[in-house]
Point group: C2
Chain length 280, copies 2
């Protein structure tokens, strides 16, 4: 199966799984509002990282695998909904459509984010995986999404982690804000597939490298939009475009060389290229 | 031990446990902001319900018990932080102190709520309880906090669950908004203590009754403040003070008669009286 076929079919499975979570137990209008940001065409990059890690370890794509992958998308989506709110980035659009607080209203957006975050943990306990694996996955997701991961990075991004004037601080920030959930996606895939400690540690290094490179690639793509807001600088602004490209390339190479230590890691390889090698 | 002694000592243990979660892994200012709403003097009612259920089943108050109890307080606190935000209730004060968005700012309040919610699940996986029990607790907490519980009730409260013009709809709303987390607190205590299905079912009925009565008691206390906002009516406004008192009393009696089926339920009894029988 080509990467395009595999990713299209995986994306479809994740979307179907997400859809089934929204049954009649939801207050009707709230159901609509919470489903809305899941239906505006995300690329499902993070679930693909989970599923590619499972695939690399020879784990067939079961319904449980898809549920695990869906849980990271629920976290990612909640973070976008809250980020778009007027008190944060104040973005009226997301993926070319009105953001949740514009399509509904601000209180709805706040609760939709809270509900998606809660549902991410709930879906993890609906699988038939062993209780030990389920507990590891909950821990992993809470670490990736929490103060040592994504929220810690977001807090640093709004200035609650000290000044960000040098590259180390910026890398720490993005290691949390963007990197942590990618790393977590890969690790959750590995844990679901029953990785050995040694396999998990290699895949973690892959996730760390791609997680960091991902934001660098984003900053290169957005280099012309990088102007005059209060937040921390972009990589391009801080170390220049050439050096950002060099670092992203180096991280990609690291990730690819880890992939070489696995047979059957073709989707992890394609995904690394797809997310980092976007315009160069 | 009297109820006063027991609840004071339990509260202290919960507070100490919450404090230890805030280590150096938090960005410094974010740590301060997230700890802040936990240190403004809450009564820790929900943890007390968990611990009283454990006590009723003869389970000694271990560090793991306290962690489970602390998890429901993290959920309750996050919901207050988000509720106070300008787009929701716009409350500048909470317990006589500036609310999080006033003491810090709105982006901080949003992230603090998200971090507390995430941490609630994280703390559950730090216990030495069996993986099976941990998974049950995560499921329980996600149900109580999620769309079938607290957030579902909050969504109904902001009009996303249809009109609330009759008593059944109002009870459904509060069953979610306030009741669910109290019910969950009791059930998590029971599960931690290794309750049989039959014991769990009796304690669930206790939690359901007290959860509903709790809001009625609140509405009676606040009856003079009940004027002119857009939300759903209070119980007092919808069915009158006398009928609200009658129903609260009936629910309390139900809960107390369930307590009578356990030996050693004195703290559950005191807690029921303390939370419902507040002014009459």
């Amino acid at each position: 199966m080509t990467f395009e076929e595999w990713s299209a079919s995986s994306r479809k499975s994740v979307d179907a799984r997400l859809q089934t979570r929204f049954d009649d137990a939801w207050p009707p209008k709230f159901r609509e509002a919470t489903l809305y940001p899941l239906q505006t065409g995300g690329k499902r990059i993070r679930p693909l990282f989970s599923l590619a890690a499972m695939d690399t370890l020879g784990c067939p794509q079961s319904a449980d695998c898809v549920s695990v992958a869906a849980s990271v998308e629920l976290i990612h989506t909640y973070s976008l909904v809250h980020d778009d709110m007027p008190c944060m980035d104040d973005d009226d659009e997301r993926r070319g459509k009105p953001s949740v607080h514009k399509r509904f209203d601000e209180p709805a957006a706040l609760l939709v984010g809270d509900a998606l975050l809660t549902e991410a943990f709930r879906i993890l306990t609906t699988t038939g995986l062993s209780p030990t694996t389920q507990v590891r996955l909950v821990t992993e997701l809470a670490n990736g999404a929490g103060h040592v991961g994504m929220i810690g990075g977001q807090a640093a991004d709004i200035g609650m982690g000290g000044p960000v004037t040098e590259i180390d601080a910026l890398m720490r920030l993005h290691n949390g804000k963007t990197g942590a959930l990618i790393r977590t996606s890969v690790r959750m895939g590995a844990i679901t597939a029953g990785a050995t400690d040694e396999e998990l540690s290699r895949l973690t290094a892959y996730g760390d490298a791609i997680g960091l490179a991902f934001q660098m690639a984003d900053d290169i793509l957005d280099k012309d939009e990088d102007a005059g807001d209060d937040g921390p600088p972009s990589y391009v602004k801080l170390i220049g475009e050439e050096e950002t490209r060099r670092r992203a390339r180096q991280l990609l190479d690291e990730a690819l060389s880890i992939c070489d230590t696995f047979s059957g890691s073709q989707h992890l390889i394609s995904l690394a290229r797809f997310t980092v090698d976007r315009d160069y």
